[in-house]
Amino acid sequence: MARMKFLCDAERCIECNGCVTACKQEHEVPWGVNRRRVVTLNDGLPGEKSISVACMHCSDAPCMAVCPVDCFYKTAEGVVLHDKDLCIGCGYCFYACPFGAPQFPQDGAFGLRGKMDKCTFCAGGPEEDNSAAEFKKYGRNRLAEGKLPACAEMCSTKALLGGDGDVVADIYRNRVLKRGKGAEVWGWGTAYGKPEKSATPPAGAKS
């Protein structure tokens, strides 16, 4: 089965924030939660580059390793998902994540954290595919509909690629060969450099 990965081509990203908007629109994410963001390097200077970043669905996901209630699970396609019914909002995944992916809606006074929210690679959660409950908690499950993530599909310059890691890497390799520069695959070493942890069934299903 395909191993899903994100890849952002820094040579192509034009900082339009279309991916960010597509994500918000597709999943109706609550105010203050940003599953994806675009970071611009050397903004306004020669050699300006932009990179779109969200959860990279790491092979050995740090969030999964530090979660005190073990609410994360990995699908057969390598997508790292979590069960909001189990999440206690401790924020440890946010400490551990290299990409700043986990988001917490403020739930009460003094910065009390609500249930964590993050990019699902448009693959929903442990609920039944495309059910109302799944949409409410995790947004649309495009993978179950046979579609790829909305952010990458919407990208106007095809800088952001999301899908089968081998296919995505091939596309990128061809680009690098043709243009002869920009070979850095941003974040891949951190996200996919470690041996893959095997897929786990949804945590809730085990109890």
């Binding site: 290299p98 700043g100 850095e184």
Partner: protein
């Protein structure tokens, strides 16, 4: 060399032009691009300096439209360090340390049994802890135990409770633990301050404490060593535990408890590591204190429960305090005030 000099001259000029504060930022930025330029001379295609700069997030020209804490930081490698520390030594060694101390205390109790009174109780009681003392002590003690139990659930529950309870039930327990921990934490910090103010006077080190330490309080010989109102062991617990560890866990706890002051992840990771280590040490020390205060020493629990101790107990355990109290009462006129019969029985209500 000349190019270098000119660059430095430019940096210095910009420093003067822009004033001191932004100057440091600009200098940092320049050094990163300088390093990158230098790297390209020796290793074309190696952009490591740029990527290091990108990971740091200190570059003022690194921007994003998403408003949030550290949203311009593209990548933070410190998270992995935190993960390795927390999931590794802290969980493994910390967990076994608590278990080991529990076993040691259990073994000691099984071998030596409780420390009993040598003399026969006189039946005359004297006040050791007033109502305020006891209120402060139990406020801190109850909040400490709540924090310890909920903290253990948060750190070790995944390994010891989750396999037994299953995911759903454990998640309920964990969310309850998290909220109890977050709300009781500030109560404990407050009680710790009161505790310090209440007991600091009698915990000041005295010369005769050296003797107590040298004989380990007669823990192994079974012979009591004279001490003031608090012996050197209690003083060590007061200064090292209540005061020092109390401050450490409270300060780090507040950093973690209130993420709405825009503190960054690295600060919270460091706070979490210190919080976990300090609280594990705190818990192991507290096991010793709880043992001595309950089953370890006969009459110790009653003193904090009712506030009164038998005169024989006072003479044996805290001889100097006993002498002082008796002398003070005598100089104050009249004999040591005997407590009313009702107070003896239900002293904690008085």
């Amino acid at each position: 060399m000349q190019v270098r000099l000119r660059q430095w001259l430019m940096v210095v000029l910009t420093v003067f032009a822009c004033g001191w504060l932004p100057a440091s930022v600009l200098a940092a930025d320049n050094s990163a691009s300088q390093e990158q330029a230098a790297r390209q001379q020796t290793q074309p295609g190696n952009n490591a300096p740029v990527w290091r700069d990108v990971r740091g997030g200190d570059n003022p020209y690194q921007t994003t439209q998403v408003r949030g804490i550290e949203s311009t930081v593209l990548m933070q490698p410190a998270g992995e360090t935190w993960r390795q520390l927390r999931n590794g030594p802290i969980t493994i060694y910390g967990g076994w340390l608590i278990v080991a101390v529990m076993i040691l205390i259990g073994a000691f109790y099984a071998l030596k049994g409780p420390m009993k009174l040598h003399d026969r109780p006189t039946g005359r009681r004297m006040l050791r802890f007033g109502a305020w003392d006891r209120m402060v002590h139990w406020g801190a003690a109850i909040s400490f135990v709540l924090l310890a139990v909920t903290g253990i659930i948060i750190l070790f529950g995944k390994h010891i409770l989750l396999p037994v309870f299953g995911y759903t039930l454990f998640a309920w327990l964990a969310i309850l633990a998290k909220n109890i921990h977050n709300f009781v934490g500030p109560v404990f910090a407050f009680c710790t301050i009161l505790m310090f103010l209440t007991f600091v006077k009698d915990n000041l080190p005295k010369l005769y404490d050296i003797q107590w330490i040298a004989k380990a309080g007669g823990l192994f010989s079974g012979k009591h060593v004279p001490s003031g109102r608090f012996n050197a062991g209690e003083k060590a617990w007061f200064w090292g535990g209540v005061t020092l560890l109390g401050i450490v866990v409270s300060v780090t706890g507040f950093i973690l408890n209130f993420p709405n002051f825009e503190q960054g992840r690295e600060l919270m990771q460091q706070a979490n590591v210190i919080h976990a280590i300090a609280s594990i040490v705190f818990m192991t020390l507290s096991l010793g204190h709880i043992y001595m205060g309950t089953i370890g020493v006969e009459g110790a629990y009653e003193s904090m429960r009712t506030g009164y101790v038998d005169e024989a107990w006072a003479r044996e355990h805290h001889e100097y305090w006993y002498q002082d109290t008796v002398a003070n009462n005598k100089s104050g006129g009249g004999a040591a005030k005997p407590a009313a019969a009702s107070a003896l029985k239900e002293g904690w209500k008085a």
